[in-house]
């Protein structure tokens, strides 16, 4: 029983990190209707900045630098690339993001090489014991940080002018422009925010029990895609639920792998996609992705 609770809590923590990534993904989609395949490389960029700077300037400044760096890369992609294609078909733009992703990932993997970069985080491999349940500090920190960021984001989305402009632009760009919303600024902001969130996610994907940032980290980040898609691409609530669902599934599938050997190894990596396919079979628009008026 205690293993189950442990696995579940780890899954929730992992899921909240996926939710951070998926949220950025959804924010870009809502603001620009572009499916951003370059998201994993934004995450890798943020993680890389944090990992290379923490020795010189300390962990917290390095983390801030990582967040700012990824936000800057996101904004630069929007400003230098996506903006040039404004008015082009959205599916064309999605393919452009694949090109951007390949460029960014190639450069980052060249820099990282075969190294495994540590993040220099203060939590190390400390473990909290609650009765028979043991939980890594990093997992707790991940959950707390993700919960705080997501709450702050949702509040801003609902109550600030930025949020109103964002939602108006998502619903009808032309009408939003008539209201004086600067669409370029909205999409720039979306990319920057998505980059910042991805940088935080990068930290928690690479700390204990993961050895550190490596080339394959962007593969881990890809699991946020099924999270965003099964939640419904245009729903922030969907991103959160999808993230948690993917995290818990992955955690369970990995945790009980030994009982599931008839399915072979590596089920944990596969599980998110299986869940996505199963959910899309039943609800093609994702869990919250309907256009009904009843949705938030």
């Amino acid at each position: 029983m205690s293993t189950f609770a442990e696995i579940l809590l780890n899954g929730v923590s992992l899921g909240s990190v996926y939710a951070l990534i998926a949220l950025g993904f959804v924010v870009i989609f809502r603001a620009t209707e572009v499916v951003n395949f370059a998201h994993a490389s934004l995450l890798l960029a943020g993680g890389y900045v944090t990992a290379t700077l923490h020795d010189d300037i300390g962990f917290w400044p390095a983390l801030l630098a990582g967040i700012a760096g990824a936000a800057l890369v996101g904004a630069a992609v929007e400003f230098l690339v996506m903006r040039r294609y404004r008015g082009a078909d959205h599916s064309v733009l999605a393919i452009v993001t694949i090109g951007v992703d390949i460029l960014l990932t190639t450069e980052l993997t060249r820099r990282i090489g075969t190294d495994v970069l540590v993040m220099g985080d203060p939590w190390g491999d400390a473990v909290l014991k609650l009765g028979s349940i043991s939980l890594a500090h990093t997992r707790i920190a991940a959950f707390v940080a993700a919960a705080l960021l997501i709450t702050a984001f949702l509040l801003a989305f609902r109550y600030t002018s930025w949020g109103v402009a964002m939602r108006a632009a998502a619903e009808s760009p032309e009408t939003a422009a008539l209201m004086g919303v600067r669409l370029g600024r909205v999409s720039l902001g979306a990319w920057a925010v998505a980059g910042g969130l991805a940088a935080v996610a990068a930290l928690f994907l690479t700390v204990f029990p993961t050895p550190g940032l490596e080339r394959a980290t962007s593969l881990a980040a890809l699991k946020a895609f099924p999270a965003a898609i099964l939640g419904g691409l245009d729903s922030t609530t969907g991103a959160l639920v999808g993230g948690l669902l993917v995290g818990i599934t992955e955690s369970l599938a990995t945790g009980y792998q030994s009982d599931l050997t008839f399915l072979g190894r590596g089920l944990g990596d596969l599980a998110p996609y299986l869940v996505m396919v199963a959910i899309l079979l039943i609800r093609p628009a994702g869990l919250f992705g309907t256009k009904e008026l009843a949705r938030v």
């Binding site: 008015g87 109103v164 939602r167 032309e174 009408t175 422009a177 004086g180």
Partner: protein, 266 residues
């Protein structure tokens, strides 16, 4: 002086190779209600899009001419600068943000105006449309058609415009509701906002406006004081649905040559 109010001069607009407007000129003097009549496809919405600088969303562009507000050129500005300059548009078909609440729709309308006037603007629209204050927490998509039109007008007023552009406000509304919208337009105008009203419901528009223009396939074919146009045979026949044998015969004869009423000097 360069003309006070909104002045459109020799404006031509094309959607790619298709010319939608040809050298259209019109004026909305400070404090006036001016209407543009015309059938479907005459270029009425294109004219408003050209003023609010949202043609690019439809693949259109201004090819010649200018738009000025109190001597300041608006053509060439970004849509948000036009709003900031004091011109707000109520789009055709209302286009309220259906998934947002009434209150958030109004907040969205205020994004283009200056921050200081926001609370006054909100008080003003709540006074004009008390129903919006009652429904402020409701999702805009759940309002009735008439209420949505009120919200669309209120949203545009949140930026405290000097000129309000209205695109077919009576479209799809019950006659009684259309009448209510007309009363509101009158009241908004009385409070000092000029109105450029684009309408297919010519009877309603001619009662509201002091001056009217008739747009046909992208060109201004008639213009003059609204009362004069309302009395003119051609307008009565074509836009007011008055069938008058003599007038019809008259129009038949003169139909080939384009008639223009004298310029209004008021």
């Amino acid at each position: 002086m360069g003309g006070s109010g909104l002045v459109v001069q020799d404006l031509s607009v094309g959607y790619g190779p298709v010319r939608a407007l040809r050298r259209v000129s019109l004026e909305v003097p400070e404090g006036a209600v001016v209407t543009v009549l015309g059938s479907n496809g005459a270029g009425k919405s294109t004219l408003l899009r050209a003023i609010s600088r949202t043609l690019s969303f439809h693949g259109g562009a201004v090819t010649e001419g200018s738009v000025n507000l109190n001597g300041r050129r608006l053509d060439g500005l970004a849509p948000d600068r036009v709003v900031a300059a004091g011109v707000s548009q109520v789009p055709e078909g209302r286009r309220v943000f259906a998934r947002m609440t009434v209150a958030d729709n109004l907040r969205a309308g205020a994004l283009g105006g200056d921050r200081s006037g926001r609370t006054t603007a909100l008080d003003r629209v709540h006074e004009l449309f008390p129903v919006l204050a009652e429904r402020s927490g409701q999702r805009a998509g759940l309002l009735s058609g008439g209420e949505q039109q009120m919200l669309a007008v209120a949203r545009a007023l949140m930026a405290t415009p000097r000129v309000l552009l209205l695109d077919e406000p009576s479209l799809g509304l019950a006659p009684l509701m259309a009448e209510r919208i007309a009363d509101t337009v009158r009241e908004i105008n009385a409070q000092g906002t000029s109105v450029l009203l684009v309408e297919q419901n010519a009877a309603l528009a001619l009662r509201l406006a002091t001056r009217a223009y008739v747009l046909e396939v992208g060109e201004v074919t008639l213009s003059g004081p609204a009362a004069e146009l309302a009395a003119s045979d051609e307008v009565r026949r074509r836009y007011l649905g008055v069938v008058d044998e003599d007038a019809a015969a008259d129009a038949e004869q003169t139909g080939a040559t384009r008639r223009t009423l004298t310029r209004w000097k008021g």
